[in-house]
């Protein structure tokens, strides 16, 4: 190298010092590092050696709840790892789990109770004491109760810490108007559909490690990371399972698939009906299972008789031969097939029917209680300890969907659209107080302008959170919560070993603090303390079920004949023998008369969704593995991995429009709503021409989120015309159509 010449020219004379340290020896032999850890200058010390390991707790960077250990140095958390004792996630945690350290020490975290002395949406914060904050919350909530009744309070909860206050407001205060994003903007239609088909909740109870074929409809495992679930999926693939992915986009799962069906968005149910009709006509279904456990099978076969391959091929815009190929593959591998129920399923407002179709297909293939099929692990029992239900009747009486006799198959709580409409219109009764606890309704609920309208008309808005998400800008009183790493929690993570075919074990893993919550620089509190203090001020002191989270937690654990002290001794996870989950069968309501009686289709049916107007493509959204909606956006490590959400655009479309990967663009929807921010274009052959995709949860508008603010595009701001699922009242959110705007010029999407 020429460089050697240059180098010689400035070599200095100090070159002769000889080092005799046996470097390899230091690097490879363990004795030294174990006996006395020596920190080297300029070298990061790592998470081992001079750290202490605290076992316990589980993650809340998302809601899968992987079990953790923390590595601490001088009382400071330096690293999180999976708990080696875990039979669920094991020593692995995902990117978000690893980045929990940076949530804990995020400079933007809420620190003190704050009062908004400016306007909702344009807050000016004044620091107040907990007494002042709680007194004001109590008196203003009581004011609303006095004027409007308990039903005048709306609540938007999410996460472990929100359960306890949610029960308080439902059961003691007496409002029915609790709307959980995890139901009405996520899993509600799935869980209700499976309950009304197989009689059990769906969860994600498919035995993928032991499957011979796996069917994913829109589910993009890999971009959506839940550690033990991804382990199940990968183990299945490793064991040779055929993977079928139905998705308009070449998702991370599609890239591993044996068959990728590039379906037209919104037509999945037609696809599923055609498969079932084909299998029925061919006699290629599990006749014994259906005969023994099926209900209304004749009505079912008649109702889907029209759904032939050509019919579906035309609707779904895929070859009939490919639909047949999928059906044959499933039949060939039945009953050892995992028909995945999905997780986030609130897509088009016809989602209950699609989920019913998935459950029926599972039954048709006899894929229940068998290796690779729909199997539910039997978890440990715990006590159900909470607030007494003293006002449940009042709540029931004022439940909006029950009053209106709509959404008969709603999951628990009140459908969000009905709640928001009622709050804005004061019909059938006024709703004048709003509580958001761990949820960010600005970005979880479609129709953002209506959500803001609802918030603006409230007499009182109270928000409890860890981070200054967008909803916090609308609070009158904003309360800071301890993070999951600093607190006990009411919720206990429990379950069984990740691979149902392994030794049957049950686990109980409570949340215990990994680091001290005590610090002079903040006054954060946990949700049990906050709720109890509020309850005392609202005259409900006598109903408080436990004085502290620890006490409450011990009561929950007592139901499993275990104590918190004992689990702490067992390194945070209690293991006990489990039982064989296989061999169970569930009834399959191919025709459901309760549905029919309520005026809904008794057999799964396909309702077409509106087509994109000329010049527009459908906006679909999904997950990226490094973020959990808006919650994780401000995390410095996660933000660095993926600061913006690329806009996926078909390569031929891009070519026609003169666009290329990396271009900065806005999106404009059918109502003329322009994204407040831009993001980068990703031009690819892996998406249909009628579809534009981006990741959900970006583009927070709160400047207090200093890393995340205005980065990427907020998809929710563009979803201005959500659909509502008739059976469940859950939202459908893949209902917006968009065009691309570059340098201020709006471009039509060619057909």
């Amino acid at each position: 190298m020429a460089f050697q010449m240059t180098r010689r020219s400035f070599l200095q004379a100090s070159a002769s010092a000889a080092l005799t340290t046996a470097l390899s020896g230091w690097l490879v032999s363990g004795a030294q590092a174990k006996s006395g850890f020596v920190r080297k200058p300029f070298t990061a010390p790592g998470s081992f050696g001079d750290t202490t390991t605290v076992s316990g707790s589980f993650c809340e960077m998302c809601f899968w709840r992987c079990q953790l250990v923390g590595k601490l140095r001088d009382g400071k958390l330096v690293k999180l790892e999976g708990n080696p004792k875990s039979v669920d996630n094991g020593v692995s945690i995902c990117a978000r789990g690893n980045a929990g350290v940076k949530l804990l020490y995020d400079q933007d975290r809420l620190k003190y109770p704050l009062k908004n002395v400016g306007k909702r949406g344009a807050p000016v914060w004044k620091r107040i004491s907990w007494d002042e904050a709680l007194d004001e919350c109590a008196s203003r909530l009581q004011g609303v109760i006095k004027n409007n009744g308990a039903q005048g309070i709306a609540m938007f909860p999410h996460g472990c810490s929100a359960t306890y206050p949610m029960h308080y407001f439902e059961h003691v205060v007496g409002t029915p108007n609790v709307s959980e994003a995890s139901f009405f903007q996520c899993r509600g239609p799935r869980d209700m559909a499976y309950l009304n088909t197989l009689g059990v909740q769906a969860d994600e109870s498919v035995d993928m490690p032991n499957a011979k074929a796996i069917l994913l409809v829109g589910t993009h495992i890999g971009e959506n990371i839940h550690v033990s679930h991804v382990k199940q999926y990968l183990k299945g693939l490793e064991n040779g399972a055929k993977l079928i992915v139905i998705d308009p986009r070449f998702s991370s799962s599609a890239s591993k698939a044996d068959i990728w069906v590039q379906i037209k968005p919104g037509t999945d149910t037609a696809f599923l009906l055609a498969i079932m009709n084909y299998l029925v006509k061919k006699g290629a279904y599990d006749k014994a299972y259906v005969q023994k456990n099926g209900e209304g099978f004749d009505k079912f076969t008649k109702a889907i008789a029209h759904a032939d391959l050509d019919w579906a091929a035309k609707i779904c815009d895929v070859p009939a031969a490919q639909i047949k190929e999928v059906a044959d593959l499933l039949a060939k591998n039945a009953p050892h097939v995992s028909i995945h129920p999905g997780r986030h399923v609130t897509w088009y407002g016809n989602d209950f029917q699609r989920e019913r179709a998935l459950a029926c297909l599972t039954g048709l293939l006899g894929a229940i209680g068998v290796k690779g099929g729909f199997v539910k692990g039997k978890g440990p029992k715990l006590a159900n300890v909470s607030w007494p239900n003293i006002a449940g009747e009042h709540a029931e009486e004022f439940a909006l969907h029950k009053k209106a006799e709509k959404h008969v198959f709603s999951p628990p709580g009140t459908p969000t659209q009905m709640l928001r409409d009622a709050a804005i219109s004061n019909k059938p009764y006024p709703i004048n107080a709003c509580i958001a606890w761990g949820q960010n309704p600005i970005q979880t609920i479609p129709g953002q302008q209506d959500t803001i309208k609802m918030l603006q008309k409230m007499d009182f808005v109270m928000v409890v959170d860890v981070m200054p998400t967008d909803i916090t800008m609308y609070a009158d009183i904003l309360l800071p919560e301890l993070s999951y790493l600093e607190r006990y929690d009411y919720f206990v993570k429990s379950g069984v070993q990740w691979n149902l075919n392994d030794k049957h074990q049950q686990y109980i893993a409570p949340r215990t603090p990994l680091v001290s919550s005590l610090s002079a620089d903040h006054q954060r509190k946990d949700s049990v303390w906050i709720t109890n203090e509020l309850a005392k001020r609202m005259g409900h002191a006598e109903h408080i079920p436990a004085a502290t989270t620890e006490e409450l937690l011990d009561k929950v654990l007592a139901g499993g004949n275990i104590s918190l002290a004992q689990i702490k001794k067992e390194n945070g996870i209690h293991l006990q023998p489990g039982s064989d989950p296989y061999g169970v069968s569930y009834p399959v309501k191919f025709f459901n008369d309760e549905l029919a009686d309520a005026g809904y289709p008794g057999v799964p049916n396909y309702t077409p969704v509106p087509e994109p107007p000329k010049g527009f493509a459908r906006l679909v959204y999904g997950r990226v593995p490094v973020h959990t909606f808006n919650r994780s956006q401000n995390n410095v490590w996660l933000n660095a991995e993926m600061p913006e959400n690329p806009i996926w655009l078909n390569h031929e479309t891009a070519h026609k429009l003169g666009l290329k990967s990396g271009d900065r663009v806005n999106l404009v929807n059918q109502d003329g709503v322009i994204s407040a921010t831009t993001s980068i274009l990703k031009v690819t052959q892996g998406i249909r021409k009628d579809t534009i995709f981006t990741a959900h949860g970006y583009g927070t508008k709160n400047p207090a989120m200093t890393n995340a603010a205005n980065k990427g595009i907020d998809d929710q701001a563009l979803i201005t015309k959500p659909a509502v699922d008739p059976e469940t009242g859950a939202h459908g959110m893949r209902t917006s159509f968009v065009r691309i705007m570059k340098d201020g010029k709006v471009l039509n999407i060619p057909v």
Binding site: F3, A22, S24, L27, W637
Partner: protein, 268 residues
């Protein structure tokens, strides 16, 4: 001798980025770019595609880290004064003395390491790496080259590398490529590839295993095509300024180095 390395099994990898983030946590890797605009990272995941390949539509991941190459150009480029260092093989007790600059390839385990105390922080090694696997850690005010060590500090006490431990897919296979009985050696036998091009062949010891289409996408998008250029002027200036650098505080130091780099780039 041993040659430690890693195989990334792309059939298993789902591109979750846990490895990159665990590495940041383990080794305090800063976020952002250094004064020469290099990404500060030891370990990275880049999503590739979906894009066409001769074997069909593909989407996979460039899971990158230091390759601990057979012929590490970074080691060649280090201008620090050479000193005699005695290495020893913990297995055999054998010793070997080599004259090395501030970065070297260990004669017994094959890893490429940096002596942070002797590192001048000039960035020559980082400039020279065709895989951009090195960056300057400047956060303490005294710039030092930094990169993946294959977690030799962790493996020395029986722990897995941080990225390997956290990998839910078990897609990262760590071990001695020269140990024919190891899992990693079996992957070599199965046809894992080195990320090389016709122009760049320096013997990377991180290998990739996967479907033809995924390997095709990886190599067409991410194999280095040219040897990186070393900014000799910056190195020269760093050396000259070295005594005075020690007197400067952290923030002004970064500014100063940045200014030198820019100025010299302009001149060049």
């Amino acid at each position: 001798m041993s040659q430690y390395g890693m195989v990334i099994d792309l059939n298993k990898c789902v591109g979750c980025h846990a490895c990159s983030v665990a590495c940041r946590a383990e080794w305090d890797v800063p976020v952002g770019v250094d004064s020469a605009k290099r990404k500060q990272r030891r370990n990275w995941v880049e999503r590739l595609g979906p894009d066409t390949t001769p074997h069909g539509l593909a989407s996979t991941y460039y899971v990158g880290l230091c390759n601990h190459c057979d012929s590490p150009v970074c080691v060649e480029s280090c201008p620090a004064d050479k000193v005699d260092v005695t290495f020893s093989d913990p297995k055999t007790g054998q010793k070997k003395t080599l004259s090395v600059a501030a970065t070297w390839k260990d004669p017994f385990n094959g890893t490429v390491q940096i002596d942070k105390e002797r590192c001048l922080g000039c960035g020559a090694c980082a400039d020279s790496c065709p895989y951009t696997a090195r960056y300057l850690f400047e956060e303490n005010g005294t710039p030092k080259a930094d990169k993946c060590t294959l977690c030799v500090e962790r493996t020395a006490i029986g722990l897995e590398p941080a990225c390997v431990q956290t990998c839910l897919a078990r897609a990262r296979v760590y071990g001695d490529l020269n140990d024919k009985k190891s899992e990693i050696a079996r992957y070599v036998g199965k046809g894992s590839i080195r990320l090389e091009s016709t122009k760049i062949k320096i013997g990377p010891n991180v290998r990739y295993y996967g479907k033809k289409k995924d390997i095709s996408l990886l190599t067409q998008s991410s194999a280095p095509e040219k040897m990186a250029e070393v900014n000799y002027r910056r190195i020269f200036m760093t050396r000259i300024l070295r005594p005075s650098i020690k007197q400067l505080s952290g923030s002004s130091l970064i500014g100063l180095l940045g200014a030198i780099a820019t100025k010299n780039d302009d001149n060049a």
